[in-house]
């Protein structure tokens, strides 16, 4: 790993962490647990496109761990990590097939997987009744995923490479 890559990763981690902590302090738009914009995912998508899978995963994992330390509760870590990992696997696979000109689609699929992972974690914690939330979460996943995906697409297009 060269120094330039390491520096970019550190910068991306700092940006992701800042965005994540700020978003955690803003009341979510809809008072349903699990619904949020997920602005930090813009950084994960950018890292995936600009750096690669291993680098993006490193940034994501460090952001989740440090994010829970700075802004989370003990429970939220479980939701973050299960949603985050499932979302990352989906996005890195989807990016191969869809390419960066359809990054917003990759983002929506990632958001859907993220909520799927959260529902799985919730089902373990509060019982299978949590599955009742899947439809409402999926609707918001499409909306928020499109938003963050378009943001990431515009960002990576401008950063070039």
């Amino acid at each position: 790993m060269n120094t330039k890559k390491l520096t970019i990763m550190a910068l991306l981690l700092a940006i992701a962490l800042t965005v994540f902590v700020i978003e955690a302090h803003v009341p979510p738009p809809v008072p349903i647990p699990g619904v949020k914009l997920g602005l930090a995912n813009i950084v994960t998508l950018a890292a995936l496109v600009l750096l690669g899978r291993k680098e993006a995963l490193t940034v994501l994992l460090l952001r989740i761990v440090l994010g829970s330390v700075f802004a989370g509760q003990a429970v939220s870590f479980l939701y973050s990590i299960s949603g985050g990992l499932l979302s990352f696997l989906t996005m890195s696979a989807a990016l191969r097939f869809l390419g960066r000109e359809r990054l917003w689609v990759v983002s929506v699929l990632g958001a859907i997987a993220h909520n799927g992972g959260q529902i799985l974690a919730a089902a373990l914690l509060i019982g299978p009744g949590a599955a009742a939330y899947l439809p409402i979460l999926l609707i918001f996943a499409v909306l928020t995923g499109t938003f963050t995906g378009l943001a990431a697409q515009l960002l990576t297009a401008r950063l070039g490479k």
């Binding site: 008072p31 509060i126 009744g129 009742a132 999926l138 609707i139």
Partner: protein, 118 residues
């Protein structure tokens, strides 16, 4: 544009299906079931106004209010208080308090006769 259109249609269809599922699984009626850790702990008739606390021990609580056929969590000791922000509901997506693993769901009252306690 064409390669985007396909996905726009797929995602729109997904939203539509989800909306339909939400509507057809809605069994709203005159009662509500409060569950803790996925287990129904209390059934509430919504035709009479009332207020009570769900005591979770260690000073943790959710304060439930029933008014005009609707139910709400009006106070809670959880950190995010999303359950309180939901306000009064008469059906639809249940109120969920993730930190306390508590849910409040409006139902037609059927199928919850096995509710234990009170």
């Amino acid at each position: 544009m064409k390669k985007h259109l396909l996905w726009i249609i797929i995602f729109s269809a997904l939203c539509l299906i989800c909306a339909i599922i939400i509507l057809i699984t809605d069994r709203s009626g005159g009662a509500a079931v409060i569950s803790l850790n996925g287990e129904a702990i209390r059934r509430v008739e919504l035709d009479e106004n009332q207020e009570f606390d769900i005591d979770l021990g260690d000073g943790e609580f959710n304060h439930i209010s029933v008014r005009d056929g609707k139910i709400a969590v009006t106070d809670a000791s959880c950190p995010d208080r999303l359950c309180v922000r939901r306000g009064y509901i008469s059906g639809g997506v249940p109120i969920i308090c993730l930190p306390h693993r508590l849910t409040v769901e409006v139902t037609d009252g059927g199928g919850v006769d096995a509710v234990t306690g009170r």
